[in-house]
């Protein structure tokens, strides 16, 4: 694999770009691995990378039923932030943000991480109090957080709708270190970096069954033959329940819902931040990609689904929210929209934990927030698999927390997965 640096760029520039090697190999599956990660999304690839990098476990395979970047890695709105308040969550997401800050150097791949600020609007004194509490908690834990009054906000983003009499904008809660990144580059960067360290990335390799022996999973049946793994990790987001039942483990505190995202035609620079608008029944977040497209999204489709396609009522909902806050978008044309299958959990928080099978580990339940979490998710999942005990940050992110009554419910929405947006 050719390293990306100034010397190689110049050399290849003079040689007709003919010496670049492929980004990662396309190996045949070996019969057995030390660790097999099922799911070649951002979390699976990051896990494989940190297993090799941090724990020197290099005999690792990542099984992907489709192609790298074809699942939720390519179905998100690329927002990165760490504005969480619950114990465990804020440390975890803050570590993730710190990993993001150095990710391009770490992977030798430009993930185009842009810390352009995450601006969350508030529209009532109650909302201001509530968000002030959360952002104060963040500050107490060393995360950057600030409030912008109306004057500052108007100066920074002059073209919001400041004349909405039903939901007047009073100001915004801001995390300046937050922003967005290029989602494909993150998937490719982790795949390339993991491959360089010896990880086998097996695409078009769908898991069809498990063979159990002495309580453990001995081997995995796949569309590319039988693969043995000493340790096995699930990182398959919306399809976790399917694999879980394939391993005959029963039910999970997860429901699969679909979330839509939208991208418009490219326009001249219009928005320098990530803006979030949430009032009453509306939820809307928007940023502008480096190409100029407006990238935005809203709520779930409100009913359980494994279909990777969205439904029209939510398209209308999101368009209405866009017009309420950004009237200047009125004539912009939508290029495409897509839906990803979200593993919505009963309290809105994730799982990085052991399972009833001693050589099986679970990484799931990312709700809306899987993209920003991927570096830390890989980091702590690799840590769990290598050391066989969870790090302090994720010690309560397990399946037992519901029975113990220690749910990690950021939103306080209760046991209804679709409400944890």
């Amino acid at each position: 694999m050719t390293k990306f640096n100034a010397w190689n760029v110049i050399k290849n520039g003079l040689n007709g770009q003919s010496y670049w090697t492929r980004q990662w190999r396309d190996p045949e599956p070996k019969s057995s691995y030390d660790v097999v990660i099922i799911g070649g999304g951002l979390h699976g690839l990051a896990t494989a990378y940190y297993l090799a990098k941090n724990h020197n476990i290099k005999n690792v395979a990542v099984l992907e039923k489709g192609w790298i970047g074809g699942g939720n890695a390519g179905r998100n709105t690329t927002i990165v932030r760490s504005n969480y308040m619950m114990p465990g969550n804020h440390e975890f997401y803050e570590h993730s943000l710190k990993l993001w800050e150095n990710l391009s150097h770490e992977l030798n791949y430009n993930v185009m991480f842009s810390q352009r600020a995450h601006v969350s609007l508030f529209h009532s004194p109650g909302a201001k109090d509530s968000v002030s509490r959360i952002y104060n908690i963040m500050r107490l834990h060393g995360t950057d957080a600030e409030l912008w009054d109306l004057k500052t906000l108007k100066k920074k983003i002059p073209h919001l709708n400041y004349h909405n009499s039903r939901f007047p904008i009073l100001g915004a809660a801001v995390q300046k270190r937050a922003g967005n990144a290029r989602h494909d580059a993150v998937a490719w960067g982790y795949a390339r970096a993991a491959d360089t360290l010896g990880v086998d990335i097996l695409q078009n390799c769908e898991v069809t069954g498990f063979t159990r022996k002495n309580g453990n999973i001995e081997s995995i049946q796949t569309s590319r033959g039988i693969i043995k793994g000493k340790k096995i990790g699930f990182a398959v987001a919306g399809n976790t329940s399917v694999l879980w039942q394939m391993a005959e483990l029963g039910n999970l505190p997860i429901e699969s819902h679909k979330l839509q995202a939208f991208v418009s035609e490219a326009v001249k620079p219009l928005l320098d931040q990530v803006v979030v608008y949430g009032v009453g029944g509306a939820h809307f977040y928007i940023s502008q990609s480096d190409k100029g497209s407006m990238v935005f999204g809203g709520d779930l489709d409100w009913y359980k689904s494994y279909a990777q396609r969205g439904n029209l009522p939510m398209v209308q909902d999101v368009a209405e929210a866009a017009m309420a806050i950004f009237p200047s978008l009125g004539r912009i044309r939508l290029l495409r929209h897509w839906a990803g299958v979200m593993d919505m959990t009963m309290d809105g928080s994730f799982f990085i934990c052991k399972t009833p099978i001693s050589n099986l580990y679970l990484n799931a339940g990312w709700n809306y927030g899987g993209f920003k979490a991927s570096p830390a998710s890989g980091w702590y999942f690799a840590d769990l698999i290598a050391n066989e005990s969870p790090h302090n940050y994720v010690q309560n992110h397990n399946l037992e927390r519901f029975e113990k009554g220690i749910n990690i419910d950021e939103r306080g929405a209760g046991p209804d997965p679709k409400l944890h947006g």
């Binding site: 399809n239 039942q245 999970l252 505190p253 359980k304 494994y306 009963m346 029975e403």
Partner: protein, 94 residues
């Protein structure tokens, strides 16, 4: 758009309804163990395929329905009232 054939009102767009959830949950008795209650409240089959689920006709007759729907294709096989006795009352009052 999913079209749901409400037994009280006829076929309507799904945005007249709100999604409830898994219709097959049997809540245990009040003195059942914590484990049974945890299972009933927090754990789900999360079926990929046809499942029974509840929908509330919130912008219509406000009745709860049991819908058999595929979570992959969104095809609906059957729609029944959650409480058939209520349907009789509604019919008798007409």
């Amino acid at each position: 758009m999913i079209r749901i054939n409400c037994p009280y009102c006829g076929e309507r767009d799904h945005n007249e309804f709100s999604y409830g959830g898994d219709a097959t949950i049997n809540y245990p008795s009040l003195d059942a163990s914590e484990k049974e209650w945890t299972e009933a409240i927090f754990f789900r089959k999360n079926i990929k395929g046809f499942q029974f689920e509840t929908w509330h006709h919130s912008n219509g007759c406000r009745m709860w329905l049991v819908v058999e729907r595929s979570t992959v294709t969104h095809e609906i096989k059957s729609v029944k009232p959650c409480h058939p006795d209520l349907q009789k009352v509604v019919k008798n009052n007409k």
